[in-house]
Symmetry: C2
Subunit: 147 residues, 2 copies
């Protein structure tokens, strides 16, 4: 059972290596692998607060703040005050991010194809169901307030 | 299928949060979550080279070098030249690391228990088999030379 987390962490790190390598080949060398994940989260639902993004991704708020600031500096993100609560900043992709998005998605899709080669749809469905249960167990154990 | 990597990365980050929180409570606040993984790898097979550890963990050699140096500075690791090739340094745990090991193992075990709650042994076995296949697919795609 200890091997489950070991393998899962390895696959996660392998994806980071793949994203770095392909990103460099495809003109995205200024993006880190973690920023690929953040770009997908921001573009999936534009206009969310950093807190919402942090909660979805299970990242500390301070880490998301730093990561979003880096994307702002690099011209990928704009932060716009929430009309209903001016203290809250909402995160939107810029044109530069939207132009990078198809490549980020393509790299992510290619990685999924690589690791799932030779595995049937039924097996993948079972696998994803169990992953979903594990993620839920983990969210319950950690609580909502991930600091 | 895209959700597989998303969930897998989330569970990996959730484990990091758990290790940080429990580590702080149990006197290991000077260790980062990634160092927990490195400690397990070093203590499992003492006397390996950094290259061997990098290959097992799927981490860049330069990242392992930095991570091991940090553990040396903190007194957790000693590097001893290989008798058969003096240029190669082999990594051994110090007494300080061996004293921390039971706590690192306990935190890792508790996390595995949390995420696998309510999942049968048969399901876990299927799950681990598929993870193993994915890791193998990934290793083949990335090649041995992870730089």
């Amino acid at each position: 059972m200890a091997m489950i987390m070991k393998r899962l962490n390895i696959i996660s790190r392998q994806q980071a290596i793949f994203r770095q390598r392909l990103g460099e080949k495809q003109g995205l060398s200024e993006l880190t692998p973690a920023q690929h994940t953040l770009i997908l989260a921001i573009c999936r639902l534009p206009g969310r607060s950093q807190e919402e993004i942090a909660r979805e991704m299970c990242i500390n708020k301070s880490t998301v703040t730093r990561a979003v600031s880096a994307l702002v500096d690099a011209g990928y993100v704009t932060r716009i005050p929430n009309d209903e609560d001016k203290r809250e900043l909402l995160i939107y992709p810029t044109k530069k991010m939207l132009l990078a998005l198809p490549t980020v998605k393509d790299i992510t899709r290619r990685w999924a194809e690589i690791i799932t080669a030779g595995i049937s749809d039924a097996e993948l469905s079972t696998f994803e169901g169990l992953l979903e249960k594990m993620e839920k167990n983990a969210r319950e154990a950690l609580g909502e307030g991930i600091e």
